[in-house]
């Protein structure tokens, strides 16, 4: 009699506990269904150069079930300014932050602190100053290879002989790792030639009018190492202000493609920005909620596009992502 009562109580207790455990699991499952939020901080985020990147983010968000918020930013210039955006987003409840790091030393400490709170992912390039932030993963195109490819395409057009040619180089902020790598790649090719590099202009051209292309000495070849400077060169070319200079560049906007289409740009190297957006978010989404997962560096491909094959099937797909 007593055994029977004991067994009965044991069975009831076990069943009751199981129901409790299931209820807890069900509630946890429900809370997990709430979308994770990932904030993306890019310099001049509304610019057309980010179209493919944003489309990549959107596709990855659909595939992984996270919610992405691209912070609307201006043309800020350094890491300290950028960290304000990062902290704001973390305070607003972002589960992870994808950011394009800008050069600066004072922001590194903040970056380390932010990394302890939420996963961080760099896109486009890493920090120019190697330090303790090396642990933050980067999804980027092979900037060095792109610069090198651009130089090689230039040599192809001149059958490897550009001796005596005057070259001007345009690029984004010089301290940025992307600019530096691209330039190093390019110079590796050009240093083996007799071409003269007349000038190199870097930074934000809009703010620093003295740096504008029109004020630079006339050259035979202009090489743009980023989309903004390529667009600026294209615009100058369209206004016939390049004095016959041929433009080669790295770009990832429809405007850049347009300048290639109308013949101002001779060769366009296009980083696969869709993949940068897609892969970075996918990596971050895997990390969120899985502390044991480590995020890895990702290197995406790039494409070399000439005017004559701009509308090939493959390049139309690239244009499709840039047109979104």
């Amino acid at each position: 009699m007593k055994n029977s009562k004991k067994l009965f109580i044991q069975v009831e207790v076990v069943l009751g506990l199981t129901i409790l455990v299931l209820a807890v699991l069900m509630l946890r499952e429900k809370s997990r269904e709430d979308l994770c939020k990932v904030s993306v901080i890019l310099r001049d985020s509304d610019d057309s150069q980010w179209s493919a990147f944003r489309y990549g983010l959107k596709m990855a968000a659909e595939d992984t079930g996270v919610s992405v918020f691209v912070v609307s930013t201006g043309n800020f210039l350094n890491l300290e300014e950028e960290m304000e955006y990062v902290n704001q987003e973390i305070d607003k409840g972002a589960d992870a932050v994808i950011m394009q790091p800008l050069p600066g030393t004072e922001g590194e400490e903040l970056l380390k602190r932010a990394e302890k709170k939420v996963p961080l992912m760099f896109v486009e390039h890493g920090l120019s100053l190697k330090g303790e932030t090396d642990s933050i993963p980067v999804t980027k195109p092979d900037n060095y290879a792109m610069g090198k490819a651009l130089g090689e395409e230039l040599l192809k057009d001149y059958s490897g002989n550009i001796s005596g040619k005057r070259v001007g180089i345009l690029g984004d902020i010089d301290e940025m790792e992307a600019t530096r790598s691209r330039r190093e790649g390019l110079l590796e090719v050009l240093n083996g030639t007799d071409a003269t590099i007349c000038w190199s202009a870097f930074g934000s051209f809009e703010k620093n009018q003295e740096n504008s292309l029109e004020k630079q000495p006339t050259v035979d070849i202009i090489i743009s190492l980023d989309d903004s400077s390529l667009k600026m060169a294209g615009e100058c070319g369209r206004a016939n202000n390049l004095h016959g200079a041929l433009v080669y560049g790295i770009g990832n906007s429809t405007e850049s493609a347009y300048y290639l289409d109308i013949g101002i740009v001779r060769c366009l190297v296009v980083p696969d920005e869709f993949s940068v957006g897609y892969e970075s978010l996918r990596e971050v989404a895997q990390k969120i909620g899985h502390w044991y997962c480590d995020m890895k560096d990702q290197v995406v491909s790039y494409h070399i596009i000439r005017r004559e094959d701009l509308f090939s099937k493959e390049n139309q797909d690239i244009l499709f992502t840039m047109s979104q």
Binding site: M1, N3, S4, L7, F8, V11, E12, L15, G16, T18, I19, L22, A23, L25, M26, E29, K30, Y55, G56, M59, E62, D63, G65, T254, E255, A257, Y258, D261, I262, G263, F274, S275, Y278, F311, Q316, D317, L319, F320, T321, M322, S323
Partner: protein, 615 residues
């Protein structure tokens, strides 16, 4: 090993009736619940799957109709441009009318149109709406839509989505279009020639339609491909072109309209195919099997919780039911167990009719057993009493013979006073011996009986010994079994003082000690060894040397029968010093009631004991 296993299984076997009923009920009810749950779940899943497929089919039919309407609209625009605007008109002299007609059509449909253009067979632009600057060298004749139109002149051709590469856009944008191209007859400067009419549809119109149906987040999606499996719309179009994702569109393009099962990239999927008229395009719906169970994880948790809760409730109900069924039987069993343990509870009578009947039967059985037991005990007592009576009666002939022999001897010697004394003592002796047939008498009577006996014996032994009675008067009124002193005195005479010449002494003492009466007969005779003493009360078959033959064993037995095992004779003796035989009995007041109870034997002594305690 097997033995151990069997042992474990046996250990699990329920032993109690309630446990058996409860476990049986629980197993049956939980099994039924599980089977019912699984069957309902399977049925519900099948119905829900079919409903999902049906609703997808309906949605696809609706979307297919919308697409067909849209494409039909484009065809009608193409027809209108050709038959109402271009045909029968000369591009040289009537270009304004042609442009006006094209403009009207464009304006009416510009939400879904990107452009209308007419090229001659060399690829030169004849007219276009909206008016825009043509690119420097668009190389029209090498574009797919132109080649398709010229390749099959009698048909209208829908291209796959592509970037329009015809006109310059000041906004530096590239537009995705689907081209509807056909060969038309043109007239320029009076010369008829063939050309190609191009209607570029805005891809966003189609993608908008497709986006509207691709809102599900359970993995289900729809895509559009042409007859060769070339993707026209797919929500993961870029991922597919980059090889990140894959789609089995080539296989789907070959299937006729219907629902198919497919195993693609490690996943089972339902494929619904719907063909779009005029184009040969296929609208394909993909439902991965995981979509059927999407969102059901919580439902599964809920169902399991519900089942466990039902299990808990069932356990409670089963316990109550099993308690209700087994309680009367358990109560009956409990009362029987207590009865067997020696208690005398009322046998439980209650519960269902059968158990009540069983209770009655058991109760009757026990009552009968009780009655029979009492009867047996009574019969046993009676039998033993008869045996004792027979033993007592053995005194009389021998003693009577001696006494009468002494009287004869006195009469012959003319000792008439002595003879009278002898006869009167003999009369007292027999009166007390008879005691109206009672076995239990007062101590006073027993002492009187002993005195009479000793007086007779003293005459017979010519006063060869002395007898002294030293008895406390307070025990006179207590109960004693009659004729217990006489055999002891007889033994004292025969074994103690007979051999002594005129110096034998017998002392009878009586006193009350701790609620008991001790009557002792002490002699100063030859005494006995310890071995003889130890055999005295055990060996009833010893050969008697003297006396009536009623030994101490019988006296001891009689006392124990009437007063209990703890009472009887105590024999103390030392060789050459004498023997002391003590009678130990409880001090029970001699009343009619006590006498009557004692007569029945010590088994019914409980009643006396109570009275004794009251005393």
């Amino acid at each position: 090993m097997n033995h151990n296993l069997l042992g474990d299984v046996n250990a699990l076997k329920p032993r109690g009736m309630q446990s058996t009923i409860m476990i049986a009920f629980s197993v049956i009810s939980i099994s039924i619940m599980l089977i019912l749950g699984v069957v309902l779940y399977l049925r519900f899943s099948a119905v829900s799957r079919q409903e999902m497929i049906d609703s997808s089919q309906k949605l696809m039919e609706q979307t297919g109709e919308n697409l067909e309407d849209y494409l039909m609209g484009m065809r009608q625009i193409s027809d209108a441009v050709y038959y109402n605007v271009v045909k029968e008109r000369d591009f040289d002299s009537q270009d304004a009318q042609i442009l006006q007609g094209m403009n009207l059509l464009y304006e009416a449909n510009k939400n879904s149109l990107r452009s209308i253009a007419i090229y001659n067979n060399y690829g030169s632009l004849m007219a276009a709406e909206p008016v825009a600057l043509q690119k420097e060298d668009p190389n029209v004749t090498r574009q797919d839509w132109f080649k398709q139109a010229v390749g099959k002149m009698e048909n209208m051709h829908f291209s796959t989505p592509h970037i329009q590469n015809l006109f310059e856009d000041d906004a530096r944008r590239y537009h995705w279009v689907i081209s509807l191209s056909r060969v038309v007859e043109l007239t320029d400067k009076g010369v008829p020639m063939s050309g190609v009419l191009l209607v570029d549809m805005d891809y966003s119109s189609i993608s908008r339609m497709m986006n509207q149906i691709n809102t599900s987040n359970n993995g289900q999606y729809y895509y559009l491909c042409d007859g060769n499996g070339q993707i026209i719309y797919h929500m993961r179009q870029v991922q597919i072109s980059k090889g990140i994702a894959h789609e089995n569109s080539e296989a789907a393009a070959k299937w006729k309209d219907g629902v198919y099962d497919e195993f693609f990239e490690g996943e089972h999927r339902k494929i619904i195919v719907n063909t779009i008229s005029y184009t040969g395009w296929k609208l394909v719906g993909v439902i991965p099997y995981s979509a059927f169970t999407h969102g059901m994880f919580n439902i599964r948790y809920f169902i399991v919780m519900l089942m466990l809760f039902m299990g808990m409730m069932l356990a409670v109900v089963n316990r109550l039911v099993s308690l209700r069924i087994s309680r009367p039987i358990l109560k009956l069993n409990q009362s029987v167990t207590e009865y067997e343990a020696g208690e005398k509870p009322e046998i439980y009578i209650g519960g269902s009719l059968e158990i009540t009947h069983l209770g009655y039967s058991i109760q009757r059985s026990y009552e009968q057993i009780d009655t029979l037991m009492r009867k047996i005990v009574l019969e046993q007592n009676e039998r033993r009493k008869s045996e004792l009576d027979a033993l007592q009666s053995q005194i009389n002939p021998h003693f009577l013979y001696n006494a009468l022999d002494s009287i004869i001897w006195m009469v012959e010697g003319e000792r008439n006073d002595d003879a009278v004394f002898m006869i009167s003592e003999l009369a007292k002796l027999f009166r007390i011996s008879l005691s109206k047939g009672r076995t239990v008498i007062s101590v006073k009577d027993e002492l009187q009986h002993a005195k009479s006996y000793m007086n007779i014996q003293k005459i017979r032994y010519k006063n060869a010994f002395t007898i002294t009675f030293d008895v406390e008067p307070e025990i006179y009124s207590c109960c004693i079994v009659k004729l217990v002193l006489q055999p002891i005195l007889e033994n004292a005479i025969n074994y103690g003082v007979d051999a002594m010449d005129d110096c034998g002494e017998i002392v009878v003492e009586g006193k009350k000690v701790d609620g008991n009466i001790i009557l002792s007969v002490k002699d100063n005779g030859v005494g006995m060894s310890k071995e003889e003493v130890s055999l005295l009360l055990k060996d009833s078959n010893r050969v008697k040397k003297h006396g009536s033959g009623v030994g101490l064993v019988n006296v001891n037995n009689r006392i124990r029968i009437f007063f209990g095992e703890e009472y009887g004779l105590i024999v103390e003796s030392e060789p050459d010093e004498g023997t002391k035989v003590s009678i130990l009995i409880p001090a029970v007041p001699y009343t009619e009631e006590n006498s009557r109870v004692l007569e029945k034997g010590h088994l019914f002594g409980g009643e006396i004991k109570e009275e004794h305690e009251e005393q």
